[in-house]
Symmetry: C2
Subunit: 254 residues, 2 copies
């Protein structure tokens, strides 16, 4: 099941899928081979098979793109995306009342992954796109999720050197631990400019079965225009609503 | 790259991914082997590799599930899902004003595939779920998409024997061709009970680059409660808005 080079088919398939992104949603076979570093005949053979099962598609111009079938399979079988379906109406309502960029995210594989986003018209911040990943400590949602993560996950994350993305990004372990304790207490994080200068995220946790935190809900303001007295109660209510819809009454805030 | 049985790794991976669905989002290895019909050691080996690349995940109870990484890759690279992002605010607005089940769908691999759905609270119709497929001729959206499909796609579909899902499903080629011509003219389809008795879908096309139809937008009423005088202009306006947001001014209605 491995090639002459010893690399498995599955590893190569993963490389092929990862070659597509927002900037390059489709490409000719030669470009794909180039991007993956695989020999052209190998790429051709794998692509042909992936197309046969709908995991990739070839369009009229012979450009290759990710297949809808792949999205269908991944969406149908995934729990987090069922959470996203549950959260959607509450997010819409929050978006309607606050008019800010509104996101839903989870921790996955050591990073923050955005699973839903609602964007005001003409909004210019190109962060937190759906299916986009971000460093945990450079987003209010990330800090909320980290605050409620098991101690070993926190320890592993906090003992690694952390990159400073802006002058406001907190990278010092002790300062971060104090902040996480505060987030747990207030069940809320406001983080001005830690990811992108000039933007402030505010995030709250969402509780799932067994009362563990399963996701974070956030809104983003241009720094200086934040309205915490409006946003914090609205975020808490929306998060309460989503948790209830997931069948869980969240623990009371202390 | 093929096994002793001659089946390729990719074909087996496709079988494994297809084993998960809404009813069974996670399962132990033995159940997965059983569902796919693959030998247990083969299943174990493939699952371990898929887990290594995040395409599958193992939870705390050793249950196997589809990985978020798979969704991330499929979402990031797909054009239709970018269309879905564009359509979302217009769908929300339509949902707000009509209060009906609202869906966005495309044709894919000879069937109708729902890519977004908004559901009124307490709604009981379990059709048109996100990432769910349906027969083209048993949904108003399917008929709209077929009406605007290239002639060869229509011919291929209409010359096959069609299954009658309800007493209202139209399966006769000549009747269907007349209906498709009418849909093209009115740019609208209302189809009482063709998919599920007691429910009426109303659908309109969405135009993309080169003015071809790229998706269908629909609302669903309980039969007898339809309000076409409200719904049809609202559907047309929403579809116009989405097409404009996609950068295309739709051709004028005749």
């Amino acid at each position: 099941m491995t090639s002459h080079s010893g690399e498995s088919v599955i590893s190569r398939v993963a490389r092929i899928l990862a070659a597509f992104d927002r900037e390059t949603r489709s490409m000719p076979l030669t470009v794909l081979a180039d991007r993956t570093g695989l020999p052209l005949p190998t790429t051709y053979r794998l692509v042909s098979e992936l197309v046969r099962y709908g995991l990739l598609e070839r369009d009229a111009d012979k450009q290759i793109r990710v297949g809808l079938r792949l999205w269908e399979l991944s969406t149908r079988g995934n729990e987090t995306l069922s959470l996203r379906d549950t959260a959607l109406p509450y997010m819409e309502d929050l978006f309607e009342s606050l008019g800010c960029l509104t996101t839903l995210s989870v921790l996955d594989g050591g990073t923050l992954l955005y699973v839903e986003r609602m964007t005001p018209t003409g909004f210019s911040l190109d962060r937190a796109l759906v299916a986009q990943r971000h460093p945990i400590h450079a987003a209010s949602s990330g800090l909320v999720l980290l605050a409620f993560a098991p101690a070993d996950v926190q320890d592993e994350f906090l003992t690694k050197p952390l990159r400073k993305y802006t002058e406001n990004t907190i990278t010092d372990e002790r300062t971060l631990r104090r902040l996480l304790a505060e987030i747990r207490k207030q069940r809320f994080c406001s983080a001005p400019g830690i990811g992108t200068p000039g933007w402030t995220g505010m995030a709250v946790p969402i509780f799932g079965a067994a009362r563990q935190v399963v996701a974070a809900l956030s809104v983003v303001y241009e720094s200086g225009t934040e309205r915490p007295r409006e946003a914090v109660p609205a975020l808490h209510s929306a998060s309460f609503g989503i948790s209830m819809a997931l069948g869980v009454k969240p623990p009371r805030r202390s």
